[in-house]
Symmetry: C2
Subunit: 106 residues, 2 copies
DNA sequence: TAATTACGCAACCGAACGATTGCGCGTATA
DNA sequence: TATACGCGCAATCGTTCGGTTGCGTAATTA
């Protein structure tokens, strides 16, 4: 079973859940009301998010509040870092090319 | 068939391919040499990457060179933006929200 | 105390995924 | 011109995914 951050954000419903619990802690029932799926389906998504540490759970009586663990989101950001460097370099290269064209340098 | 950027980067092999073709354009055979899978498997991955515009292909004789389309990577970055705001601005407030829930403060 | 509520867990099902194998087609090379 | 090469496409197969349904359990409420 693959359970990493990238697999977790692959599902659109899961991304929507992430957006919800990013703002405030919510219970599975409260979350499920925002979708056309059952509570159990949402619970499964939450379980996956907890499993790869994208969400924290906090029990309160018979309710369980889920909230996004922002720290883990940085892992995606960290992975993007290598490409961010490239797409900035590419832009710089384009600039230099353009500059060279302007200055008639090959 | 789900075919968006997030689904594309979900697979670890595909992420490795992305890292390869980010540096330079490569042929399917050349890419496949870096992995334990067949050329056809790599070709399938490349097809998915092209499909969601994460890669461009450039035919040259009987060879086809694939290279990363950095622009599309920004889509992920754009999605991360909303959470980046949270983890930078509200990092400390998140704990307060949790505490308030415990104490039944809205 | 009995009924209700909130939830996780397990079984199950159809669809999608990732990989392999076996082609056919165009391009290079002898 | 015959052969080898690079590639995409289609069929196939086992596995995983996302969903539903049906429970069991613990906490609340009547």
């Amino acid at each position: 079973m693959r359970r990493d951050v990238f697999q977790a954000i692959a599902d659109p419903t899961r991304r929507a859940i992430i957006a919800l619990i990013a703002l405030q802690a919510m219970t599975p029932n409260a979350i499920a009301e925002h979708f056309d799926t059952s509570r159990q389906a949402v619970s499964k998504h939450l379980q996956i998010l907890v499993e790869c540490q994208l969400a924290k759970q906090e029990q309160q009586g018979r309710e369980i509040f889920y909230q996004l663990d922002v720290a883990k989101m940085k892992e995606i950001d960290k992975w993007l870092e290598q490409f961010r460097k490239i797409w900035e370099d590419r832009f710089n290269q384009l600039d230099t090319i353009f500059s060279n064209i302007k200055q008639n340098k090959p």
